[in-house]
């Protein structure tokens, strides 16, 4: 199972320090990169789910608190450069913390779509699949990467 790198692991806040290595670029040329896609409507539904199941801890604006991580800024730096599937799986088994794994997979995907949108990733037609294996093949680019 080969993953393709769309961005660099260093998404520092909203500053993209993108400079894809030659090896990664070659690999991408040999095999078209699966694109990170989500739809506007999916993100909108995600916002609704987020409001009900996540906002109580992570904040209405995803701003977090001293104790609960924000879902912008450092959060993206933390997950960028690794498969979106990691984030999807983490959500699926560990969140919401008070009832881990209680969201249906489609809702996890919706919440991720919403988080992507809130972090400046552009929507692209097809919804993000609620499919761990498929998402495991797509790396999360730095938010400012093309």
């Amino acid at each position: 199972m080969k993953r393709t790198s769309l961005g660099l692991a260093l998404g520092l806040g909203f500053l993209a320090l993108a400079a894809a290595g030659a090896g990664a670029a070659l690999a991408a040329a040999a095999q078209p990169a699966p694109r990170l896609l989500y739809s506007e409507s999916q993100a909108a539904e995600g916002a609704r789910v987020y409001g009900m199941r996540c906002a109580m801890c992570h904040g209405r604006q995803l701003e977090g608190t001293l104790e609960t991580p924000a879902l912008t800024g450092k959060f993206v730096a933390n997950w960028a450069g690794r498969p979106v599937g990691d984030l999807y799986d983490y959500l699926g088994r560990a969140m919401p913390q008070f009832a881990p794994g209680s969201l249906p997979p489609e809702e996890d995907a919706k919440v991720i779509a919403y988080i992507l949108k809130a972090n400046g990733y552009r929507p692209g037609g097809a919804p993000l699949p609620a499919d761990s294996a498929a998402l495991g093949r797509i790396d999360l680019p730095a938010p400012g990467a093309p």
């Binding site: 801890c57 104790e67 609960t68 690794r82 990691d86 913390q97 008070f98 881990p100």
Partner: protein, 431 residues
């Protein structure tokens, strides 16, 4: 998911892995107590001593002069919620190989993480030293990780701490912070009788080490009188097993009644002050019955500052990093890693034996003049350097309170209720 997770446990380790594996059996089976021998940490001499506030004068037959403690709502400045990482078998101090790194665990201290921090670090660092490293990594910078890092430095190692948060933002800063070494630390059956000896060694070593911080600038560790007050004569509460309850940890995976918790504090009552009855003429409170004990507590801000200062002065390095799988431990430059991730180990290391036990504290504006603690009914207040900590616990379920609850949002109303319950107990005689 996480292919990385499973691939992090090689079926055929490389040469380094083999060398490490050779020690694995010993590390797993090795008694922590034995490893502790000869590893006494020695604290550096304090640069400057400041005197702690003078102890309350206590003459036989006379009431100590106490400054009234304010317990009004306008003083409430913070409510913090936290999850205690309870493991039925006690903290995980086992070692395993990940990639070609030796990972020694040091997590799962329930409601006793602060109290056992030095002794537990001694065990974990002892295991790490057995493969003769010169440098190690510590993952986690709560009270367990930071203490482990300092203990490793004192043993002559170069230490890098990797963590997503420093201690000030860790769960450790949401504890109440008293010496409570047997609070929700293990269950009697699954932990087995051997745990008692290990616990005692860790508790005694911790107690002695904390004493080396008494009287230091900022009072990182302090003693205060703590008064238990009552409208009726005070009797020690017992929680005998309820014969009507047939389920237990063995059938449910979580404790179902209070009697399943392991209580060990009697083993160290020769050094830890026990409660004594306060005769009526010495009782400073308006309520008729009082007991007094001397309680050791930790002032978080000052204690963290003291430990971090020692860590950085000793050449320690802090790297802000979030780990997503155990396999990442094997990719660190350091080939010996001590894992101190607390409750987070439940997901990160898929340790489903960690049972969440929710708890919360309210914090009032600091009242240094009211330098004591009060317990009444189900509520306790203790005056600390960083505020007066308030807890409202349900006395009928004892240690079962919060078991299985991983909701970590604070609930202010519980603290407000606690302050209302406490109000009559704060009244001093003759006030």
């Amino acid at each position: 998911m996480s292919d990385a997770y499973s691939s992090g446990r090689p079926s055929s380790p490389g040469r380094d892995g083999m060398a490490l594996l050779g020690r694995r059996t010993m590390l797993k089976g090795g008694s922590g107590a034995a490893l502790l021998a000869g590893l006494q940490a020695c604290a550096p001499a304090p640069a400057a001593l400041v005197s702690a506030p003078p102890p309350t004068p206590r003459e036989p037959g006379k009431r100590p002069l106490l400054h009234p403690m304010r317990g009004t709502l306008d003083q409430l400045i913070d409510v913090k919620c936290c999850i205690r990482p309870l493991r039925a078998a006690g903290p995980n101090l086992a070692a395993e190989i990940i990639g070609n790194a030796l990972v020694v665990h040091n997590y799962g201290h329930g409601g006793s993480g602060w109290s056992l921090s030095w002794g537990s670090a001694e065990v974990a660092v002892g295991k790490a030293l057995s493969v003769l490293p010169r440098e190690i990594a510590v993952v986690g910078c709560g009270i367990i990780g930071l203490t482990t890092a300092v203990v490793a430095q004192r043993a002559g190692l170069r230490v890098t701490i990797y963590a997503r948060d420093m201690i000030q933002r860790s769960r450790s800063f949401r504890a109440s912070g008293s010496f409570t070494p047997d609070s929700r630390v293990a269950l009697t059956e699954p932990a087995g009788p051997a745990f008692g000896d290990l616990w005692e060694t860790m508790a005694r070593l911790s107690w002695k080490t904390f004493r080396t911080y008494l009287g230091l600038p900022g009072n990182p560790v302090e003693f205060h009188d703590s008064y238990g007050l009552s409208d009726t004569p005070i009797e020690k509460r017992h929680y005998p097993p309820d014969p009507a309850i047939t389920d237990s940890y063995a059938t449910k995976g979580v404790p179902v009644q209070n009697s399943e918790f392991m209580h060990l504090s009697d083993r160290i009552k020769d050094i830890v002050p026990q409660a004594v009855d306060v005769p009526a003429e010495e009782n400073p409170f308006a309520l008729p019955y009082a007991q007094r004990s001397s309680q050791m507590h930790f002032n978080f801000a000052s204690y963290a500052h003291t430990l971090l200062s020692e860590f950085f002065a000793g050449g320690g390095r802090f790297v802000n990093r979030d780990f997503h799988s155990p396999a990442e431990y094997g990719q660190l430059a350091e080939k010996v890693v001590i894992n101190c991730t607390g409750y987070a180990a439940r997901d990160l290391w898929r340790d489903r034996t960690i049972i969440p036990v929710r708890g919360q504290t309210g914090w009032l504006v600091p009242q240094p003049d009211a330098n004591y603690g009060v317990r009444y009914k189900n509520v306790s207040m203790l005056s600390k350097g960083d505020g007066v900590v308030v807890q409202n616990n349900n006395p009928d379920i004892g240690e079962m309170l919060g078991v299985g609850d991983s909701m970590e949002l604070p609930d202010r109303s519980g603290i407000e209720e606690g302050l209302r319950i406490m109000a009559p107990a704060l009244v001093l005689k003759g006030a």
